[in-house]
């Protein structure tokens, strides 16, 4: 099973990259689950035609008891991708990290992986590895690889470096390892050189180079990924190439 957690600075395009990668996997015949681990709960919206799924935290807020069935807290989206959002507490209150841990325990109790039997699970995680809750997706049994999304912007690279260091801190545990960088271009001057310099310094590989494209905005306005909107465009091809590469690596490892 391919299990990937996607991290990166807030607003850098993690959800866009995750949803497009999920859609690409699905189009390549894989059974996919995408779990949004962000209180904003907007990770999967473009796999669902713009109509969001009920986040787990919202369900728990509105009901006395936990759900009995995974269908109560998930929705099937484009390419039969099972979409789940952890959601979070009321902004400014509570503990979002604890919300992620709680959601994962619930998914375990509902035997999500045993019943749905996915080929690919993608975790789209809020910003940085700020606390125990946001490291939950990289613990043993969840993601085994981390992809870091960054542009050539200084603060995005700074966050990428923090994330890489945080994951390295767990090297003596059976946690996920950083597989590489998704360069999500933002039309920054000398962008490729900057990202490559960071990648080389950190000993990481740039596994995908996503061009700056209006297609992404165009299809997101329609509640779609570019994979759904125009699978033949250049941006879509980049995601297909990344998905295929990860599938090939997984096959080799097996």
């Amino acid at each position: 099973m391919i299990k990937i957690a996607i991290y990166g600075k807030g607003g850098i395009g993690k959800s866009t990259c995750t949803a497009n990668l999920a859609a690409a996997f699905a189009m390549l015949g894989k059974r996919v689950i995408q779990i949004g681990c962000d209180p904003k709960a907007d990770s999967t919206i473009n796999l669902l035609g713009g109509i969001p799924v009920m986040p787990v935290m919202n369900y728990l807020r509105e009901h006395d008891d936990e759900p009995d069935d995974i269908n109560e807290i998930s929705k099937i989206g484009f390419g039969n991708i099972l979409c789940i959002e952890t959601g979070g507490p009321t902004p400014g209150l509570g503990c979002a990290g604890r919300g992620i841990i709680n959601t994962f325990s619930l998914l375990e109790e509902l035997e999500l992986f045993e019943t749905y039997k996915p080929d690919v699970v993608l975790y789209d995680v809020l910003g940085d590895v700020v606390c125990g809750g946001f490291a939950a997706p990289i613990r043993e049994g969840y993601a085994s690889q981390v992809l870091i999304v960054t542009s050539g912007e200084k603060m995005a690279l700074y966050a990428a470096n923090n994330i890489n260091s945080a994951v390295k801190n767990f090297e003596d545990r059976s946690y996920a390892r950083v597989r590489g960088i998704i360069m999500n271009r933002r039309s920054v001057e000398n962008e490729e050189e900057k990202v490559r310099a960071f990648a080389d310094g950190a000993g990481l590989e740039i596994v995908a180079d996503i061009p700056r494209s209006n297609d992404i905005i165009k299809y997101e306005d329609m509640g779609k990924t570019v994979i759904e909107g125009d699978p033949n465009c250049e941006t879509a091809k980049c995601f297909f190439a990344l998905a295929q590469r990860l599938i090939d690596e997984d096959n080799e490892n097996e």
Binding site: C95, G132, A135, E140, R173
Partner: protein
């Protein structure tokens, strides 16, 4: 405020269950919690604390440790204590504070084991469940790790799920063992009272397991799967039911629940408590007095443990409503339940350590003999 206990007590927490199940086995138990909490798990919930030594520790988690996620301090403290104490194993478990900060106890245990070379495991608890879950998870891990296939001992039997939280230290365990011996059985391991790790290592030699509380079922299921040892659920109570239990132990092929093979009545005698012991007492009362009974089990259980008509409600207000509605002939329960039982219903005290701790310890009856049944007969 549904499900909050406002009038009566609540049962001992999962943490106490872990400490109790592992108390006598020579391992080190570390609860990751604030300093001072050891008295909750070990003094208040552990009647053996003043008589038997055990390596139960609290990590003395501070606010800054919690904020900073200072796992390294926890790990190095345990590694250092293990070097001094040389325990047979190390168990690490949580409490509400590390639950909130998301401590990964599985990873912590792995690191300790790598550094000490001592078998280390995490028990997945956080202080928010009841004692049966903690005792069950801890016992299962120990049984999975230490039992091994061996030649059978004719009429060998293990007792599973015995902790002082359910089986009082008033000679009850000896009475259970004597009942088994009188029926021709040889007790190999009594998990985990009056028990060593060596006993557990030999326990797969048993021909059958007797499960005396819910906390023994997971381990019994494992031994059934792994070694084909069948199990019977029940506690010897009074002469008649003890005979039925002994027959069941001799004839069981896979699993049997004599504690739930009885008729219930909505207005009979209600027994509130742990499912297997309450069910066994209910069966014994019906056999010895002809009175119909009904068990109310507010604790962890499985569907086979309870008879049709028993109740598994656990909220204080629901139990109170049930009693008002059905007007049972009498209620048998821990004395602290008295405060939610209507005054016109007869109440018979049955102190339960996991519910009222030491408060009524000296009044705890030895259920294995007929004395308590006589008390019930007299009070009705």
């Amino acid at each position: 405020m549904k499900n909050a206990t406002k009038i009566i007590s609540c049962y001992s927490a999962d943490t106490a269950g872990v400490c109790s199940a592992l108390y006598e086995l020579g391992g080190m138990v570390v609860v990751h919690d604030a300093s001072g909490c050891n008295s909750t798990y070990s003094t208040h919930d552990e009647p053996r604390w003043y008589d038997k030594r055990s390596k139960i520790y609290i990590s003395a988690l501070t606010e800054m440790d919690a904020i900073m996620g200072n796992d390294k301090k926890l790990i190095s403290d345990i590694v250092s204590a293990a070097a001094d104490q040389n325990p047979a194993f190390i168990a690490v478990c949580g409490s509400p504070m590390p639950m909130m900060t998301g401590v990964d106890f599985g990873a912590v245990a792995q690191e300790i084991e790598r550094r000490t070379g001592i078998f280390t495991f995490a028990v997945d608890i956080n202080g928010t469940h009841n004692y049966l879950k903690g005792a069950s998870d801890a016992l299962l891990t120990i049984v999975e790790k230490y039992t091994q296939k061996t030649d059978r001992i004719k009429n060998g039997v293990n007792i599973l799920g015995a902790t002082p939280l359910d089986i009082p230290l008033n000679g009850n365990l000896n009475s259970i063992k004597n009942c088994l011996k009188d029926s021709g059985f040889e007790v190999i391991a009594s998990m985990t009272m009056d028990c060593t790790l060596g006993d557990i290592k030999r326990s797969a030699a048993a021909e059958v397991n007797l499960v005396v509380s819910y906390s023994g079922i997971a381990a019994a299921e494992f031994m059934l799967r792994e070694y084909n040892i069948p199990y019977v659920c029940g506690v010897p109570v009074g002469g008649e039911f003890s005979k039925i239990l002994a027959d069941s132990l001799k004839n069981v092929k896979e699993k049997a629940y004599p504690c739930s093979e009885r008729q219930t009545a909505e207005n009979g005698i209600y027994i509130i408590g742990e499912g297997i012991s309450a069910g066994s007492l209910a069966s014994a009362i019906t056999l010895e007095t002809g009175e119909k009974t009904r068990v109310v089990c507010p604790l962890d259980h499985n569907k086979d443990m309870l008879a049709q008509g028993d109740s598994d409600i656990y909220a204080e207000e629901d139990i109170e409503k049930l009693l008002v509605q059905n007007k049972p002939k009498a209620v048998i329960a821990d004395p602290l339940y008295k405060f939610i039982v209507p005054k016109d219903i007869k109440f018979i005290d049955l102190p339960h350590f996991a519910f009222s701790g030491r408060c009524y310890e000296r009044f705890m009856p030895n259920l294995a003999d007929d004395t308590f049944i006589y008390t019930v007969r007299r009070k009705l």
